[in-house]
């Protein structure tokens, strides 16, 4: 029978069930492979975290490297974070003024700006920007060290690379994220007030007094310090992706990209959990 012009009916044309039978195991195999990869990744991440934790709590401590990383994560991210915070402040100021005027609640402007910047935009924006800048940098740096055997050389010199490279970087991220968030918040509030005062004069003193009126520490501190968790996520993912790299320049690129993508995704997911947690615990 010719292949052309034949109505392919299951059971009549024997090639169809055969092809389906071949395709099904291959799809199943892909699914199994995907699941294996998923669990393998989390398993490796767990082992990595355990090694880093053990290295971090046992002496000798790498103070010099920690200070270098604090500078790398903190000081060098500061201008970018401050600039982004300032831009966010202006945007929120313009949007809030428009919406509040529409609903006749213009007097609520300072409080709206303060709460929007400090509780919502400042922390998540800092987390995402640091994921991009620091996550990619750390991922690429460690991946490059891995493929050029520099991490092996550290280990061969009887130095624990988990302590020297990973623990210091993760700790630097944990310590610096809340400080960078404060910088972003301050820049946002300052430019938000400035944008508002260009349209309608309002003293900074009055803006702050009205904005923070009745506010408690528990309204702002948990939101700021939750970014330490973002720091933990960013540092851990970047170090993990970097230190498990293989495959030359392509591997380095992949590690940098994966560090940013996975860290950003986990920061957003963590935000969902942390917001709920803070609402339950602190309200």
């Amino acid at each position: 029978m010719s292949d052309h012009g034949v109505i392919a009916v299951e059971g009549i044309n024997p090639s169809i069930p055969k092809r389906r039978a071949e395709a099904m195991p291959s799809a199943a195999n892909s699914g199994v492979k995907l699941m294996n990869g998923f669990f393998e990744w989390f398993g490796s991440l767990g082992i990595f975290c355990w090694k880093v934790l053990r290295a971090a709590v046992t002496p000798p401590y790498e103070w010099r490297e920690l200070i270098r990383q604090l500078d790398e994560v903190g000081s060098k991210s500061f201008p970018l974070i401050a600039l982004a915070g300032a831009a966010i402040g202006v945007v929120i100021s313009m949007e809030a003024r428009y919406s509040l005027t529409r609903f006749g609640a213009k007097s609520m402007f300072p409080a709206t700006l303060v709460y929007s910047v400090i509780q919502v935009m400042g922390p998540i924006m800092t987390g995402l920007i640091v994921s991009g800048r620091v996550g990619a940098g750390m991922g690429a740096e460690l991946a490059s060290m891995k493929v050029s055997e520099q991490i092996d050389a550290i280990e061969a010199s009887a130095i624990n690379p988990y302590r020297l490279l990973a623990a210091t970087r993760i700790l630097a991220c944990i310590l610096m994220l809340p400080l960078l968030t404060l910088a972003a918040d301050s820049a946002g509030l300052l430019t938000g007030w400035f944008a508002q005062s260009l349209v309608e004069p309002l003293s900074f003193h009055q803006f702050i007094e009205t904005g923070f009126h009745g506010a408690t520490f528990s309204a702002f501190l948990p939101q700021t310090f939750k970014t330490a968790v973002y720091g933990l996520i960013i540092g851990t993912i970047a170090c993990f992706q970097g230190m498990r790299t293989c495959g030359g320049a392509e591997g380095v690129g992949r590690a940098a990209t994966n560090s940013v993508v996975i860290a950003s995704l986990f920061v957003i997911l963590a935000d969902v959990v942390l917001v709920k947690f803070i609402l339950v615990v602190f309200s």
């Binding site: 490059s144 050029s148 055997e149 050389a153 010199s157 009887a158 130095i159």
Partner: protein
């Protein structure tokens, strides 16, 4: 240069022929995925002895070195360093053993964010904390002079040639005064003159320090020059282990073919 080699070869005979081996590899197996790299390999090296490990690409020569320094773990078998089995030893316990070992990586693996002096000082800064800055500086200068790299302290690894990087890597490997020296392709990618210089340097260091050395190489000429013994690997195991003359006299087809092609 040949005369230098001959004199040095006579001088670098193992210190005590009867002494216990410093490195003993016994029935070691290693598999990556489905690829069996080492298949029951056994060898040993004494103090003051240099063993050259030869073989085709992919026969597990570099893997053997990584197993000996504990960067990878064997699937089975034992690796004893100074009488202690290191197979499966945790990272922190391996540290003490690694302090007695120096490793020169194939591409030197210098830290590219540190200059030459900082690279050599790196192990000292971590393990010789009692040393003052000036003492450390003196030690780094002494090590760099020993490998013929004086005057390059402030240079970055990217600013020096491959041969120079290997010299700096060797200085770093010697920083903690190791008893065991592992060299992974020390002359690979170098011109014949630089290769000869590295060989001379290894011979000089062996003569002065009497370490137990294992050199992985493709370069038969270099192996013949620097090693007391040669081990030829094929299919994850040692085909022959002996002097160069033993290899020449061997009737094994693979050995004959290897010598013919080298």
């Amino acid at each position: 240069m040949a005369a230098t080699y001959d004199i040095a070869m006579q001088q670098t005979k193992p210190e005590q022929d009867g002494c216990a081996p410093v490195v003993v590899v016994e029935d070691v197996h290693k598999t990556f995925g489905i690829h069996k790299v080492l298949d029951g390999i056994s060898l040993s090296v004494k103090r003051g002895e240099t063993l050259a490990v030869l073989g085709r690409s992919g026969t597990g020569k570099s893997v053997l070195l990584r197993l000996i320094i504990g960067l990878d773990a064997p699937d089975s078998g034992s690796i004893c360093i100074r009488g202690r089995n290191i197979a499966g030893l945790p990272l922190d316990r391996m540290g003490e053993i690694r302090k007695k070992m120096g490793f020169l990586f194939q591409h030197a693996a210098l830290y590219d964010s540190l200059n030459v002096a900082e690279n050599v000082a790196f192990p000292l800064a971590h393990h010789r904390k009692e040393m003052s800055k000036s003492e450390r500086r003196d030690r780094v200068e002494q090590l760099l002079t020993e490998v013929g790299m004086e005057g390059t302290l402030e240079k970055m690894p990217s600013d020096i040639s491959g041969g120079m990087q290997k010299r700096v890597g060797l200085a770093r490997a010697l920083a903690l005064e190791p008893e065991i020296l592992l060299l992974d392709e020390p002359t690979a990618g170098l011109d014949p003159i630089s290769s000869g210089e590295i060989d001379d340097l290894i011979l000089k260091l062996q003569y002065e320090r009497q370490m137990a050395s294992i050199v992985v190489t493709h370069d038969l000429h270099s192996a013949k020059t620097i090693a007391n013994r040669l081990a030829l690997l094929d299919k994850g195991n040692v085909v022959i282990d002996g002097t160069f003359e033993d290899l020449q006299k061997s009737g094994i087809d693979f050995v004959k073919e290897f010598l013919k092609q080298s």
